[in-house]
Subunit: 269 residues, 2 copies
């Protein structure tokens, strides 16, 4: 395991390309949170080309939950814009394979499964705006509490596209009332990773029954004077893909993401 | 001709749905500039579905010149999000048909050509941010001078996607130096219609030889103290489509656009 060879501090200051090479060589096999400080990380969906149009259209119609950073050419294993000399089949620490909607395996390398008709989608993630929130003294509770962010199924419908459909999944961060304007402005400036919140306040209005019982991730403390703020979440497209029961899909394993060469700050433009 | 039946002032204050119905009925057949004040207008590209993925990918890779507002379902003649009860084949005042890269006709109604595999792309246009510039006292020279905006081929490459490729086409507006920060902020806030400028200043740096000889549209006066400011232009995808020499493509005729139900101001969010 990589965490034996490299300290968190070392990984924080390494260049993205260096970390990708260590992941590729099997030297690092752990969640990427905190690695290559300042650089954007991305989620993965790999689909056979026959479903790629529907998925790209789903993303176009639902940009907040599904912010596409890059789409590979069919068959290409390289994210040419976001990861120089990258290898999509080996540069994520962990992958999951789904067949007909069921997970059939977890792998550190999917090159043996590769097909010429695979299209890879790199999808923006909230790590990018959380760094900016912290930088601007807006608290990010799940980081303070060392938990996974709480995520909820909602009654907010997504626009369907072909075989993909479903309601929006949101993540929640409790924000002190007075800091909400700042939190909205900071995240609105990052439209390429979920953008501004989709809801602020009463969870029931978007179909969330119990704020303390998230559908994914872990509950966090909401302190007096704080209001729950909800952002569109990347679990939305992942669920849509799994629920569509396609014959063969590859995703990253939760938390095991792609470290891009692009700085979070550059996602604002 | 509609301009005999309705004054410019009447058309300025009509609701989008009303104007679309008059266009559909053949009562209006003229450029849409100035109609339904405050509402966004959109350009059109209709392609057979087999090319739709490449075009959507081209737009994803080149969002500034190709800001997609809506993509219809294959065969559907309705822009469900942006134009309630719209008829894509009849609600633009004029269409052009291209076969193998050559224009073969101009029509006010393309319903007789309709096919079940047609996918329609509604593309954002700079009218939306020009209204905001004027509102904020930033001059828009070609409007002052009653001309078409000057547009130029450049040396800025677009990211190719499948059969679509080419360099970026830009539009130019001369802006007084002191107002450039305002112009950048106003247009940056409208990422759904070309967004912030792609270049400010020396035209030669982006391959423009003579600022007084635009490749499309008309030259405008650049006054002392003004600097040419360049924005990505919707002619880029239109050129890419024509140059790809597809067997059959429908576009709107220049200036004859779709009037949406969405206010320009709402394109900021």
């Amino acid at each position: 395991m990589g965490n034996k060879k490299y300290s968190k501090e070392e990984l924080r200051h390494m260049a993205p390309v260096e970390i990708r090479r260590l992941i590729r060589a099997g030297e690092i096999d752990e969640p990427t949170c905190g690695m290559a400080d300042g650089y954007a990380q991305g989620n993965l969906v790999i689909l056979p080309k026959e479903y790629a149009y529907d998925f790209l259209l789903y993303a176009q119609r639902n940009p907040k939950p599904c912010p596409i950073l890059e789409v590979s050419d069919a068959g290409s294993r390289n994210f040419v814009q976001m990861g120089e000399d990258s290898d999509i089949a080996r540069d994520f620490p962990r992958y999951r394979i789904y067949e007909y909607g069921k997970m059939t395996g977890e792998y550190t390398d999917v090159s043996s499964f590769w097909r010429d008709d695979f299209v890879s989608f790199l999808i923006g993630c909230s790590f990018s705006f959380e760094a900016d929130l912290l930088e601007n003294n807006v608290p990010v509770r799940q980081i303070e509490e060392g938990r996974n962010v709480p995520m909820y199924d909602t009654s907010i419908p997504c626009q369907p596209a072909g075989v993909f459909h479903g309601n929006m999944v949101v993540s929640m961060r409790p924000i002190p009332s007075g800091l909400i304007p700042k939190a909205v402005q900071i995240t609105a400036a990052m439209a390429r990773v979920h953008g501004a919140p989709v809801h602020i306040g009463n969870p029931a209005e978007i179909g969330i029954k119990d704020i303390n019982a998230p559908d994914y991730g872990e509950a966090v403390t909401i302190r007096p004077g704080e209001i729950p703020v909800f952002w569109a979440c990347g679990v939305t497209p992942q669920n849509a893909v799994i629920q569509s029961k396609l014959p063969f899909v590859i995703t990253h394993a939760p938390g095991h993401m792609f470290i891009t060469d692009v700085r979070n700050a550059d996602l604002k433009y």
